[in-house]
Amino acid sequence: MLKVTIDGIETQVEPGTTILQAARKIATEQPEHSHLVPPAMCYYSPLEGSGGKCRTCIVKVTQGSERDPRPMPKPVASCQTQVMDGMVVENTTNPDLLAARKGVVELLLINHPLDCPVCDQAGECHLQDLAFAHGASETRYEEERRTFERIDIGPYIQLHMTRCILCYRCVYTANQFTDERVHGVLFRGDRAEIGTYIEKAIKNDFSGNVIDVCPVGALTDKTFRFRSRVWFTRPFDAHRKCDKCCGKTVLWMAGDDVLRVTARKDVFDEVEEFICNECRFDHKVKEDWTIEGPRSIHRHSVISANKYKAKAKTVV
């Protein structure tokens, strides 16, 4: 076991663990320290090879290891850097690092449209949360933003490239769930776009998962488009017998109507088990599901506000 200290909190981890995973371990064991987990926009632990791209998870390593205590010269991507024995990491306690992260957030936002009021992802958008926690209140960007036409990928999914932050999560999802390579990145630089090569539909039973892994509103569910704001819907754990996937989902309901079906996500908003398109798109009736009970949402986001665990205020 290796000893690592993040923002003064010590923990023991297995060799091969990254700094981000170590921070998540601290947050799982001691939820009061969950603020020290670096934000991750591109890293997604169920997807092999993801991470290292968005640079929002950067941390400062002030002591490399017990044996070699020199600090690392530059901020490192915590999702890619493995823990060494005796490593000391600063995240929220280092003002320079927070300034650097603010810079990354600013760069992520310069080409992102301000269309949160009409975006289906609003309320459960990682970029929204990130900008709220680490962003500046105004922009210094005066130039024109890049825009793209909306593209329909098959009957269920819409791609709105203007909102994309090129985290590559959907690319890894498509590559790891499909036999043929049908979904990738075209062009380069800030003209790069997610594409399926001439708007070909992704024909795969698990293609809907790209919606769940997308941290922003670039890939949205066409069957839920403009139906409701997410914070007006109530999440319920539910399951059904499915021969393709686990069948364990979250139903987002308004009254008795099932507006949307998604996979279950954990504390760090990563999918626990991927679900198939049949469960996601074809069973939007309450009678098809066995409802287990309300789903508690752990994320500090607007969707968790005023739901089930609102603390009772004492009225004097």
Partner: protein, 451 residues
């Protein structure tokens, strides 16, 4: 006349062909290495020569070779990086065009030293005609038994291939080069693992520049110590410099390390000074990504010593008053050149070439280009200069590969040394459209040196 090592026979008629090249002493290093040296001895010679990577970073080649992992039963690969796309750099093109066999010979000897059985030359797509030249040279080498099975009757076998790229600057970064060679999108990989451990097809791989590999034959022939005797201190041997810009005689020159910068620019043996009797304003000595320096700091460092062409002397003073030798793309600006326009052109290049994988470089390069475009076209603001410095700081050191640094350095350096010219552009937009700024504060310098 200084000594030529790589380009010694470059002007011999027919040197492109095998017969003439062999007559001039070609392929001696392969004979010597295979018959009388062990692979470890060849690596030791290269270590003793002090040869440093000629692609830009200047990492000691012998050390790079000794880092190569050697697990049993796993093939190793040698890749030649001929994806020379840095603006201002065209030395590898000249070398491959003129003496293709020198590169082939260098790759055979290096492959023997590293225990490699398959080697690739990754060449940029725009060098289409050089692909043919190299393939002809390789075919001749196969025909005469220098490539293929059991070379010279020993147990050493080698296959050498030329792989043209699609014309992306980013594929000159070693891990992007490997991805591209594997047939994937040329995105740099996250390091570690380094290519010396997991490179091409997850096998140990060495990636070297064309000029580095071309220097290996002479090191093996004459010994590492003889090579190390040329040059100054830790900068040994010779370096190809591709000089361009406002020069009387632009072109590719082979110089001994330690040549004074002033002599290189002004002597008739080399670039022959600046045309039309104009004065020297600025210089980018190592390809577009190294910091630009004004004339006074280019000729003498901050301590007043003459600058010479070595890795150490050019980087003296760090980035505050120094620059880098880089890949040897030597770009000279005379008094009539506009630094703002030049910086904009570089920023446009890096914006175009950013792969788009990590966010600071993808978004930052585009932002810098747009701001510089505004300043150049007369729509700048005073606060834009600090904004540019700030963006460059946010990109620098915060990306997966060095392209982010390469994009940030020229912008930061141009504002550091030519801030008054940028300010003049912002404050006098109409005048800036009509004429160039000229020498600015350098006029004081030229007054002091009495020109």
């Amino acid at each position: 006349m200084s000594r030529k090592i790589l380009l010694e026979h470059a002007h011999v008629a027919g040197i492109q062909g095998y017969e003439i090249y062999r007559k001039m002493g070609g392929y001696r290093s392969v004979e010597k290495a295979l018959k009388s040296l062990t692979p470890e001895e060849v690596v030791d010679e290269v270590k003793r020569s002090g040869l440093r990577g000629r692609g830009g970073a200047g990492f000691p080649t012998g050390m790079k070779w000794s880092f190569l992992a050697k697990p049993e039963g796993v093939p190793r690969y040698l890749l030649c990086n001929a994806d020379e796309s840095e603006p201002g750099t065209f030395k590898d093109r000249y070398l491959m065009e003129k003496i293709p066999h020198l590169l082939v010979e260098g790759m055979i000897t290096s492959s023997y030293a590293l225990g490699v059985q398959t080697a690739y030359i990754y060449i940029r797509g725009e060098y289409k005609w050089i692909v043919k030249i190299l393939e002809k040279a390789i075919a001749e080498a196969y025909l005469h038994g220098w490539l293929g099975r059991k070379i010279l009757g020993t147990d050493f076998s080698l296959d050498l291939y030329v792989a043209p790229g699609g014309g992306a600057y980013i594929c000159g970064e070693e891990t992007a080069l490997i991805e591209s060679l594997e047939g994937k999108r040329g995105n740099p990989r996250i390091k570690p693992p380094f290519p010396a451990v997991k490179g091409l097809w997850q096998s140990p791989t060495v990636v070297n520049n064309v000029e580095t590999l071309a220097a290996v034959p002479v090191i093996v022939n004459e010994g590492g110590d003889a090579y190390a005797a040329v040059g100054v201190g830790r900068s040994t041997g010779t370096k190809l410099i591709s000089a361009c810009g406002n020069l009387n005689k632009p072109g590719v020159y082979e110089i001994e390390m330690g040549l004074p910068v002033e002599e290189f620019i002004f002597s008739d043996e080399y670039c022959g000074g600046i045309p039309g009797g104009k004065r020297f304003k600025a210089c980018v000595p190592g390809g577009s990504s190294v910091p630009i320096l004004p004339a006074d700091l280019m000729l003498k460092n901050a301590k007043g010593e003459d600058r010479v062409m070595t890795y150490e002397s050019l980087s003296d003073g760090g980035f505050l008053t120094g620059t880098m030798l880089g890949s040897g793309g030597f770009i000279v600006f005379d008094e009539d050149q506009c630094i703002v326009r030049n910086t904009y052109t570089y920023a446009r290049f890096y914006h175009h070439e950013s792969c788009g994988q990590c966010s600071p470089c993808r978004e930052g390069t585009g932002w810098m280009e747009k701001v510089l475009h505004r300043i150049e076209h007369g729509h700048g603001h005073d606060h834009d200069l600090d904004l540019l410095v700030d963006i460059s700081k946010k990109i620098e050191g915060n990306t997966i590969c060095p392209l982010g640094d390469a994009a940030a350095w020229p912008v930061a350096a141009a504002i550091r040394h030519f801030r008054e010219e940028f300010e003049w552009h912002v404050r006098h937009p109409q005048e800036a459209q009509a004429r160039n700024y000229g020498l600015g504060r350098l006029e004081i310098y030229y007054g002091a040196v009495g020109v």
